[in-house]
Symmetry: C2
Subunit: 254 residues, 2 copies
């Protein structure tokens, strides 16, 4: 059977659960991983509570090829991700000499290298470091779990540094058509059409635009030829209800 890797994203932080901060990391990782042929199949947001993090890490690492966590690896009391991930693996945390050397080299002349800052050099035994080209304090990878910080631009830079280590599958491609069509008017033939292409995922998403409603149909798969053929059928389904559809085809092959 073809290699079809999957991923899960675990967002750690009370501020996302309170609704105060909008998470930008899960959508970014989802798009980026999809481009690598590693579809994200689950996202969880949990609070800064050790048991919740341990439970989620263990559930997700058993179920998906790759897990990416964001948040909770800074120097403050609420940064408990490193300890919780180590606990999930039953491995101790120790001061990592390489991480400490990096932190000292970068920060010692700038700031007070206190014990709180040095906590960022505590890494689970057996983990490999994930480089941080922005603010030095590393993340780490333990088996299939990648531990990244919560600040989006730092997380993104660190992800770009590790992306080449991920084994991707065939890239997911998508085609779509959007129009002022009621879902209920096309639901029956659409369901029949989905039945003919079991390896392509056809999603139907209603939307409201001012006082007009409509539907986006999005088909995802890995076979460009079959997706293009399906797009023709999706457009035929919608056109009787709206002559002015927005169609997004695959990019032309160069």
């Amino acid at each position: 059977m073809e290699y079809r890797p999957t991923a899960a994203v675990l967002i750690i932080g009370n501020e996302i659960l309170s609704g105060r901060t909008r998470d930008a990391n899960a959508p970014w990782l989802a798009e980026r991983l999809a481009g690598l042929g590693i579809p994200v199949r689950e996202i969880r947001v949990v609070p800064d509570v050790s048991e919740r993090i341990i439970e989620a890490v263990n559930a997700l690492r058993a179920q998906y090829t790759y897990v990416f966590t964001t948040g909770g690896i800074g120097p403050t009391h609420d940064d408990i991700t490193t300890a919780a991930v180590a606990a999930a693996f039953g491995t101790p945390v120790e001061r990592n000499a390489e991480a400490e050397a990096r932190l000292r080299a970068h920060y010692e002349h700038l700031v007070d290298m206190n014990s709180a800052r040095l906590r960022m050099a505590d890494i689970p035994v057996g983990a490999s470091l994930i480089d941080n080209p922005v603010s030095v304090a590393p993340g780490f990878r333990l088996d299939n779990v990648h531990v990244l910080p919560g600040v989006p631009r730092i997380m993104q830079a660190m992800f770009e540094g590790l992306a080449h280590t991920l084994a991707g599958g065939p890239p997911m491609l998508s085609v779509s058509v959007r129009g002022h069509v009621r879902e209920g008017d096309i639901a029956e033939p659409l369901g029949a059409l989905q039945g003919t292409v079991p390896d392509i995922d056809i999603g139907s998403y209603p939307f409201a635009q001012g006082d007009r409603i409509g539907t986006s149909l999005i088909a995802r798969g890995t076979d460009a030829t079959r997706l293009r053929a399906l797009l023709v059928s999706l457009v035929e389904l919608m056109r009787p209800f709206d002559a002015d559809l927005e169609v997004t085809d695959l990019p032309a092959q160069g």
Copy 2:
């Protein structure tokens, strides 16, 4: 012990996992529920896959006072939330006479009342309907699980109609201070301060603003007097590093 309800939000839909659509429902529910004294303690996003929905519904309903699902209750083939929630409870789905009557009354003169549309009147046995003041097709409540649609303005209107049925706890209050201070400079005294107020949750959130970095400290709890006192201490902690802090106190009591 004081009644402290909790909530979980389950977002159902491939379009969120692909990163193509930004979920607006979880943050909205998180804020609205926090205002009712029902903090959201977990958010999950799962695909339109029956087993994943069943597993998540059962895990969340056992662990939290209330569960809210969004998405997957429309008329198309990928709308499988109703069947999956029913399966999670081991209860069958049947055509609900009241739901069918509402759909027919509203839509029959407008559109073709086909079997796909009538599927929106299929409701798990034992569930109570959640009114839909926008587009009529109801959601439902089964025990502590509230099943809502994915379109934000419809979901929000339906939530407002059911909010009075939820038993809230003491409302969560928050105070905060934000400034151009490095987390590492305040981490140690901040940790000590957190140790003195175990019932208040102090979060420390680094941010990057252009090329300046800083920290937001946010304290959440239910006792206004103690939060105000803590805010003074948080400001004292930050001020040596930045004289120009943004402080958000509680609203004055009228």
